[in-house]
Amino acid sequence: MEYVVITFLCLGILLYFLLGGADFGAGIIELFTSTKNRSRTRKTMYQAIGPVWEANHMWLIIAIVILFVGFPHIYTTMSVYLHIPLLIMLIGIIARGTAFVFRHYDAIKDDMQWLYNRIFRYSSFVTPFFLGIIAGSVISGHIDTEAKDFLSAYVYSWLNWFSIAVGLFTVSLCGFLAAVYLIGETDNEDDKRRFIKKAEYMNISAVAFGAMVFIAAQFDNIPLIDWVFKNTVGLTAIILASLSLFLLWYLLLKGKTKVLRILAGFQVTMILVAISYAHFPNFIRLKNGDAISLFETVGPPKTIYSLGLALLLGSVLILPFLGYLFYKFQKKEE
């Protein structure tokens, strides 16, 4: 059952990254769209993510619940030492979710829209940025459980070049995912071209920030290069990700949307695999060189057994229903 639970945990994180990420990305795209095209972008976006945004964000909750039920030590270590970025991310989630719904359901469309839009766009940027910072910090080895002073315990644990680079990298990946997703959601040729452009920019910036992550890792003494290149799985994943980059550009120019989506998802998945495989099952790396491993901190057997059962049962109920939701609303209106 341990493996079932861990699989669901990884799946939850991955799907949140892909689906929630595309969802954040839509806001990022809006942020970087010129004013005159914004309202059209907004409309496409609403049609595309309106019905599914709530479900997309459930993956985060699933991952968190698995963590605190199955791996309480990991959950509490993160919540103590990464309190500040978690808090900012939460504020972002609150601001974004509510602004998104409010702007659509406000019965009178007036100046308030301006405010909702602002909040929505900026929080769409801030939230994945801090999400990336958190992800970066967990593996960066800056969390210091022996720290005596406030700064080294609660601030330097996440405020370092590596985490920030990962944050920016995450933002550009989200934007990329969203742009690719949106291409298929519009019929208007003009819009389509704009989203293709956006996808290209986002892809370029993802590559640039990706390079920055490696450089920052060197600065912060994180053996990222070893993890990725001295390990067959990591190496294969990164090679596949790079190869798919070429295919991706080709498809982008051709405007083949459905395959493109799958490929973009695949690419992001490979990147996550490349970064995390080498130190799996270690989840958190600590400053003193120790690591908190999934297997060593796993909860008591009965808990894991019932958690795994609940997850399996839940997915039998959820997945068909969710698939139907995506299917039903993905097709454009005639």
Binding site: G50, P51, V52, E54, A55, H57, M58, L60, I61, I62, I64, V65, I66, F68, V69, G70, P72, H73, Y75, T76, M78, S79, V80, H83, L86, L87, L90, I91, I93, I94, A95, G97, T98, F100, V101, F102, H104, Y105, D106, A107, I108, F150, A153, G299, P300, K302, T303, S306, L307, A310, L311, L313, G314, L317, I318, F321, L322, L325, K328, F329
Partner: protein, 440 residues
């Protein structure tokens, strides 16, 4: 403000905020489903419009409920890491099932809100029901988790270690049934009265009477059934508390001294210094009866509880009085309502009754919050009753006061915006839904 106090306040604020929205999310889908059903059966456009109008409100509330709930699942760790480290694996079962319920709820809501004219109409109706049922299920599950904090079960506590953990047993602890029942009824009562009151106000103002009368009737019927059953379930809860948490019961009733038989206090000013209550009306033997079903039974007072295990008395007592007082009042309104319903009088001709409902708009929610204060403050100083103290569970990170200020500001502004949005929704009802009904 010290960190411990700040953490407690932030937790209380977040939960108090979330509960309002989650109750609406639990209950409104049923109102909608009923109205939707009537539309499908009678083809009366008014019911369709009502369903749509309500569903917009629900979308706003649902989103607010969802984000504040996401916040909570992190906050448990951010504020109470020591608690979660031990409690997570034990009381996590309801949370993991709750995750499933939420997920289904979120998916079904997607179908329901965006499914007009796209889905088979009965499937569409069904998705609305699914939203309600899974919302209710998540409410019950999370309350079962809270009940575990009141009545820990499913593990052996040996020398500071939590052994032989059994999450299923933990979920079905002694308090879960009475708390979950009382909570569900409270959700129907509070949301029902709030919704019915708003529509009553519109009827009084002579706006879209046809629309608002139908809305009023649906909401008020749910509310009043809830309000009639609530005291019964409250009595069940009180007997339960007497058995498992005598300290909480004594604090609820400000019973400083063990008495046999014990009187029930109504009102009164508590003086925590000299441990007395002034100016209360005493009903002899009534507390003995409420707690143990026997007018002569002995009821444990605070004098039998060690000093460092006594909850704050004044807050618990006042909160309990508020809940019971409002509960009794709403029960009386319900009696009047059903009396008029069965005599088949139109409510439009009963302005005094409508005015009572308008007055009752906030009462259910006040009772609901008060009830939680009883439960949570009455459990102090324990976070896990009898096992772990709240102050031992708080996060080591300093400066929680700032995060409390930030969240107070966020919740405050969200409340304002939500109220504002709702006001606008209601204001727009005549414009959006008042077109003459086309005859097909």
């Amino acid at each position: 403000m010290d960190d411990f106090l700040a953490a407690r306040s932030q937790m209380a604020l977040s939960l108090g905020f979330h509960i309002v929205f989650s109750c609406i999310g639990m209950v409104m889908p049923f109102f909608m489903a009923l109205s939707h059903y009537k539309w499908l059966k009678t083809n009366d456009e008014v019911y369709k419009n009502l369903t749509k109008a309500w569903s917009k409100g629900v979308a706003i509330f649902f989103a607010t409920g969802a984000v504040s709930g996401t916040m909570l699942s992190f906050e448990l760790g951010l504020l109470w890491p020591k608690f979660m480290e031990h409690a997570g694996p034990i009381f996590g079962m309801p949370f993991s099932l709750e995750g499933t319920a939420f997920f289904i709820e979120a998916i079904a809501l997607g179908f329901f809100l965006y499914g007009w004219n796209k889905l088979n109409k009965w499937f569409h109706w069904f998705t609305g029901m699914v939203v309600g049922v899974s919302g209710l299920a998540s409410g019950i599950l999370v309350v079962a988790a809270n009940a575990w904090m009141n009545s820990p079960a499913g593990f052996d506590f040996v020398g500071g270690k939590y052994l032989n953990i059994d999450p299923i047993q933990a979920m079905f602890n002694k308090a879960w049934f009475s708390q979950a029942l009382h909570m569900c009824l409270a959700a129907f009562t509070a949301t029902g009265f709030a919704v019915a009151g708003v529509h009553a106000l519109m009827i009084l103002r002579n706006r879209n009477k046809l629309f608002h009368l139908k809305a009023f009737k649906i909401a008020a019927t749910f509310a009043c059934i809830g309000a009639l059953l609530q005291p019964l379930s409250g009595d069940l809860s009180a007997k339960d508390v007497a058995k498992r948490q005598p300290a909480k019961l004594a604090a609820m009733e400000a019973l400083y001294h063990t008495e046999k038989p014990a009187p029930l206090l109504i009102g009164g000013i508590v003086n925590e210094e000299d441990r007395t209550v002034k100016g209360a009306i005493k009903i002899p033997g009534a507390l003995s009866f409420l707690a143990h079903g026997d007018f002569k039974a002995e009821v444990k007072g605070l004098d039998q509880i060690p000093k460092n295990e006594q909850p704050p008395v004044a807050i618990t007592h006042y909160a309990f009085q508020i809940m019971v007082g409002l509960g009794t009042f709403m029960m009386l309104i319900s009696v009047l309502y059903f009396f008029n319903l069965f005599r088949k009088k139109s409510f439009a001709d009963k302005p005094w009754l409508l005015k009572l409902f308008v007055f009752a708009i906030p009462l259910g929610y006040i009772a609901l919050e008060a009830g939680w204060v009883v439960t949570e403050v009455g459990r102090q100083p324990w976070i896990i009753y009898g096992i772990m103290r709240t102050k031992d569970a708080v996060t080591p990170m300093p400066g929680i006061a700032y995060s409390f200020y930030i969240f107070s500001a966020i919740y405050f502004s969200l409340s304002i915006v939500v109220t504002f949005l709702l006001y606008r929704q209601i204001k727009m009802v005549p414009v959006v839904y008042d077109q003459p009904v086309e005859v097909k």
